[in-house]
């Protein structure tokens, strides 16, 4: 591991640092906007705490590869390269949003980034990943599908069917579980007979990529890189990254206000904040990098501010948008 990390250059790591703090700023801003009712609606699931998983995993891909995830998708979208303006506009339900304001927080997507979107039915996107990977094999393309999965989602029928099918067909998928220990309020050990989720690979005769530290972007990057190589050549891999939700299930989750046990747990995990972990590494590796980190941090904050401005000034969708895209090439009421 140590030797591998040495090969990562300063710029790359600084870029990851930037991405991680960008996501953190973005999520903090979303939370703020939600409290101010400038972002509305029932669902807003923040990626804070998970950043190293998304950034590290996506760093292991090229733009020819494919990405798909669940509703906790802001961080994935940004790490994949979605313009924060466009992401923020989607949060606010604006025409300039990535899905034209019709998808919202849970349904970011960007076709030209091969980012196939965030999905809100738990497990529902898993067979989609299988299908996209089928297309890759069918067309003999040199690419992989990276599919993010919540720990809770691994107990759903979709998980079983989608992973098994990918194994039977030797498809190039990296199945990456973001195990943040809980789905809404249910702990992994209360929802999974097998709490070491990567072991579920055995049920599909699938390569078990193991359990990795999801707070360490470098470890995630290497593990996913290895998995990508394997998946392209041989077939699916199941990986499990241990991570933690810093902000509750969604913005309306107030568990941290009432549950002392959760607050204590959170404190422990905050010591392993992906920002801190990467910062320590950088500071240790590269002398005098602090000012650079500061700069990236400010840059990210400014980008988020600009995104909010852009989003707020953007127009809302209209009736024409409401009735568009129900079908391809046909009016909704035809």
């Amino acid at each position: 591991m140590a030797t591998q990390t040495a090969t990562l250059d300063r710029e790359k790591l600084l870029d990851w640092y930037y991405q991680i703090v960008l996501i953190r700023h973005f999520e903090n801003k979303c939370d703020e906007l939600y409290r101010e009712k400038r972002i509305t609606g029932v669902y807003l699931h923040l990626y804070s705490g998970h950043e190293a998983v998304g950034v590290g995993a996506l760093a292991a891909l090229t733009l020819d590869d494919h990405v798909i995830t669940a509703y906790r998708d802001h961080g994935i979208a940004l790490a994949r390269g979605m313009d924060p303006k466009v992401a923020m506009a989607e949060m606010m339900g604006k025409r300039t949003g990535s899905s034209g304001g019709k998808g919202g927080s849970m349904h970011l997507a960007q076709r030209d980034l091969n980012f196939w979107g965030g999905y809100a039915i738990v497990g529902g996107h898993l067979p989609l990943a299988t299908g996209i990977a089928l297309k890759v094999r069918y067309m003999e393309e040199d690419a992989v599908v990276l599919c993010f999965i919540g720990d809770g989602a691994t107990n759903n029928g979709y998980f079983h069917e989608a992973l098994n099918m990918s194994a039977v067909w030797d498809l190039p998928v990296v199945w990456l579980i973001e195990n943040n220990l809980v789905g809404m309020g249910t702990r992994v050990e209360d929802s999974s007979g097998q709490p070491e989720l990567s072991k579920r690979a055995i049920a599909y005769g699938m390569k078990n990529g193991g359990r990795i530290d999801g707070q360490n972007v470098i470890e995630v990057y290497h593990a996913v890189s290895d998995a990508v190589k394997y998946a392209k050549k041989r077939g699916p891999v199941l990986l499990e990254a241990l991570t933690y939700r810093f902000r509750g299930h969604g913005v309306s989750d107030r568990s941290y206000d009432v549950r002392d046990d959760l607050v204590s747990e959170l404190k422990v995990w905050q010591e392993r904040d992906p920002i801190l972990v990467l910062r320590s590494h950088l500071v240790e590796q590269f002398e005098g990098v602090e000012s650079e980190l500061e700069k990236r941090d400010q840059e990210a904050a400014a980008i988020v501010e600009a995104a909010v401005k852009f989003a707020e000034e953007s127009p809302a969708p209209t009736f024409e948008d409401l009735i568009a895209n129900v079908y391809v090439g046909r009016r909704y009421d035809e």
Binding site: G41, K102, I121, M184, A316, Y332
Partner: protein, 326 residues
């Protein structure tokens, strides 16, 4: 016995508590019903009161939540399974309509399935396309399953208790938009409303408005407004989509000769379709105008609040429809 103003979620909880106290076989299972205190807070406090044996958190496994509840019901328990929102019941459609609804019949009456599946329903809060269904008619299409949907706290208590006590499987849907709305709820632990009986929420002689669930609110508001113009609407709250109390609809229609159906559902092959079809079948000679339907627009639901609301029925749309049939 007295009654107190309570929000619908409290009325539902009261029903659950009373039935759980009355009958040890009654228990609750579903996502986040226990430790998390219920996604919609209906089951708040039940874990503490009844313990983990009778308030069971489950994995995110809708097929198994519904299916295991069917098994437990066959075997003699009386499960009240919660599907967090009705949208996720699509994953359990087979367990519900091919198992819960058919087992009594298919095995010649050997087994009964005294099961209630509760699910939050409705939309209008930017929950977006996959989380914004009011698909009760889909489930009510299938014989063997009762489908109830209360429009207020009072009915919620009486209907849920009836559902729990009944020997048949019941899909019981609760409009999220109504959870916080209060109404007088009787303390009476035997306050039970009959399954399959509609309720006339407002009497009137000019137009019959047939609706259920959240549609009742829009309809009553519309009736209120129209009354000012001297138009007397009779508002029929179906309460149950199966058994469907069409007799009450027809009786009202024979008096008013005009009808508007109000549903939050999608319009095609839906609740309004059935009501309109039955009226023209059973009261053709009484029709002074076509039955008019007010439904959600025939589109998936978008996120942006502005356009989402355009797609939803509302009081004004009901008023307009009533004026059209007058």
């Amino acid at each position: 016995m007295s009654e107190r103003n309570q929000p619908m979620r409290e009325a539902l909880r009261m029903a659950l508590r009373e039935e759980m106290s009355r009958d040890e076989r009654v228990f609750v299972m579903g996502l986040e019903v226990g430790q998390w205190q219920g996604t919609h807070r209906v089951t708040r406090g039940l874990l503490e009161e009844f313990g983990a044996r009778r308030v069971r958190d489950t994995p995110i496994s809708e097929m198994a939540i519904a299916g295991a509840a069917v098994g437990a019901a066959m075997a003699g328990l009386r499960p009240v399974a919660e599907i967090m929102t009705i949208n996720f019941a699509f994953l359990a459609l087979d367990a519900i309509v091919n198992h819960a609804a058919k087992i009594h019949y298919m095995f010649g009456g050997q087994f009964t399935v005294p099961l209630v599946i509760r699910a939050a329903t409705g939309w209008g809060n930017q929950a977006t396309a996959t989380h914004s269904h009011t698909p009760e008619p889909i489930f009510a299409h299938f014989p063997g399953l009762f489908v109830g949907c209360p429009s207020n706290a009072t009915d919620a208590k009486g209907m849920l208790k009836a559902a729990i006590r009944d020997e048949n499987p019941v899909l019981f849907t609760e409009f999220i938009a109504l959870y916080s709305k209060p109404a007088p709820v009787p303390d009476d632990p035997d306050f039970v409303l009959p399954i399959g009986k509609a309720d006339i929420k407002r009497a009137g002689k000019d137009v019959t408005i047939v609706t259920f669930g959240r549609g009742v609110e829009w309809s009553l508001n519309a009736a209120e407004a129209l009354a000012k113009d001297g138009v007397q609407c009779e508002v029929v709250d179906m309460r149950w989509l199966r058994p469907l109390d069409i007799a009450t609809v027809i009786a009202s229609f024979k008096k008013t000769n005009r009808c508007v159906v109000v549903e939050e559902c999608l319009p095609m092959y839906s609740f309004g379709s059935e009501i309109a079809a039955q009226i023209q079948e059973k009261a053709f000679d009484y029709m002074d105008a076509p039955v008019k339907r007010v439904s959600a627009m025939d589109v998936p639901l978008p996120y942006a609040a502005e356009i989402e609301l355009m797609a939803l029925p509302n009081t004004q749309k009901v008023i307009d429809a009533v004026k059209e049939v007058l």
